[in-house]
Symmetry: C2
Subunit: 333 residues, 2 copies
């Protein structure tokens, strides 16, 4: 019997339709041709193919916008938003608009073209997380901005246009839809119970141990109760904290280790699937500290999300989170 | 300068990022290999490849589950939900669940394997709309069910697994997310203004004539102000009505003509893109008559929706709805 499950945070229902279940090796991973290294704008020696860098990790003596770097952050060449200008908020009859003020940056995570999270050293992943933090803290100073999203698309079918390991950051003058709904849901739970709903979820999940993929003293990785997609995985800090960018170094170290381990497990169990990784942090300058809880979502791209699903907000997931967690636990790299 | 726009119904913001704009012929339409007719379970003579029919349009004397039909409705062979059983609602700590009670049906729209909405006769499309209505009215009698979604995926990259023209219907014991948000938004507008927000949008759009693709005395087709995707198109009845399944025949005739015309325009301007079509109607047994307004959404699949976009609810659309409407108006078939 298929089961309907409700996400306690957002109220979203999903169908866990085990009759439609595929075994892990039934998922067809779609691949696209690899980019040639010679034309990669993110490879060392090609620094003139990107806009000038905003931030970089470089050994002493190395020259900005030249080779020798360990990590670079550059503006997106085709930005969805622009840093310059005023918001110029306007009504237009029933409608509202404002200028697309914001930032759209690319974090080039490593000079190595063919690396991925499973092959990168943990300390390199920690550097990436710390670079996200640096850029978030810098952008928070801009009074026009309200929210920052960091995300990583790996693989063409997950939306990546380049193979070289990179993540992206978009800072917005509004709080986007899903962040707003998470905040509203978490605020309501706090008003009702005086507790953070994420802390409650973590406590229940660790006690049940059905959907936990990995845990250590700082973090837990789990397949959420109302998973929208097969093998959807959330990483949550065990100690309450609303902002990713304020997390202690020890949590970045745990997150780096757990991201590397989980991607390695997915590579083994699911034939190196394309994926999307999204950091959910608190909005700037909004009092959500007691009830919001930062987390990272990892979504392997194993099935096509048809227009139906994002057109209705109703997801049909052929793999239960209990099975997903079991498969990933068993796939130790 | 990119622009942020807010959808007045749901409050969702999108970025219209014209710097990232592609011209219509820059969109790459992905295609998949066609299914062989000999193995198509929806072709005449293959009726034993589907579960027994629930509904059919057949000439007198033709035998159920045999050939000779004009349209068939059958249960989905791999249903996301089951008709039999009780809901058995249960809490599980913080979480909620219920049995996946509902219906999942397939409407086989025509015996012709290679037809599409642009090539089908208008009266055949009217038959399809009338079949949707019949099934909706029948399922509304089931007290366990709250909502019905009709949708159509055309083309493999839009989520279709078979080429033969078909649509699907899913009846749910809950009101899905996006329907709930549309209803909440429309209810608020009605409480504030004593007017239907959709009627207000239609009035403004017709007066401005910037985003209208087609109109007649019954219906208007438009590119919505806060379009999430390039060439997103909505079809709205000009006369207020909450339920698709209660619409008069004349509106089905207009909708059939306008769907056929719009798909033909998209085929011409955008090289026959895959698409998703979704019917938004009022939930069963909920008093939304004065403020909800049925409509149909058509989303050609021209760009990859990356996890970022459905993970944040924030869409970056490279084509303005004004340009989309202009291109489609100019592409008269």
């Amino acid at each position: 019997m298929p089961e309907l499950r409700r996400d306690p945070l957002t109220g979203r229902w999903v169908a866990i339709a085990t009759e439609r279940r595929k075994r892990p090796n039934d998922f067809r991973v779609e691949r696209m041709a690899a980019d040639p290294v010679e034309q990669c704008p993110f490879c060392p020696g090609h620094e003139d193919m990107t806009p000038p860098e905003i931030f970089a990790l470089r050994p002493e003596g190395s020259v900005p916008n030249g080779p020798g770097w360990n990590l670079r952050v550059v503006p997106n060449r085709f930005p969805a938003l622009r840093v310059e200008g005023a918001l110029d908020r306007q009504g237009h009859g029933l409608f509202d608009r404002m200028n697309g003020i914001g930032a759209h940056e690319v974090i080039i995570e490593t000079p190595e073209h063919a690396a991925d999270l499973a092959s990168m050293d943990e300390h390199v992943i920690v550097q990436v997380l710390a670079a996200w933090r640096e850029r978030m803290l810098d952008l928070e100073r801009d009074q026009r901005l309200r929210y920052v999203i960091v995300f990583k698309n790996q693989g063409g079918t997950a939306g990546a246009t380049l193979d070289h390991p990179h993540s992206q950051l978009i800072a917005l003058p509004i709080v986007p839809d899903i962040a707003r709904r998470e905040i509203d849901g978490a605020r309501k739970h706090y008003a009702d119970h005086e507790r953070c709903i994420f802390c409650d979820i973590i406590r229940q999940e660790i006690a049940e141990a059905q959907r936990v993929i990995a845990e250590d003293q700082n973090l837990v990785a789990l397949a959420p109760w109302a998973s929208r997609l097969p093998f959807e995985t959330w990483f949550l800090p065990r100690h309450h904290g609303a902002q990713f960018e304020e997390a202690p170094r020890s949590e970045y170290e745990s997150l780096a280790r757990m991201l590397k381990g989980t991607v390695a497990r997915m590579n083994k169990a699911l034939a190196s699937p394309p994926f999307n990784l999204i950091v959910h942090t608190a909005p700037f300058a909004e009092e959500v500290g007691p009830f919001y809880h930062w987390h990272v979502e990892l979504m392997p791209k194993l099935s096509r999300v048809a227009g139906f699903e994002w057109g209705t907000g109703f997801y049909i997931n052929p793999t239960s989170p209990e099975e997903a967690a079991q498969v990933l636990r068993a796939a130790a790299p």
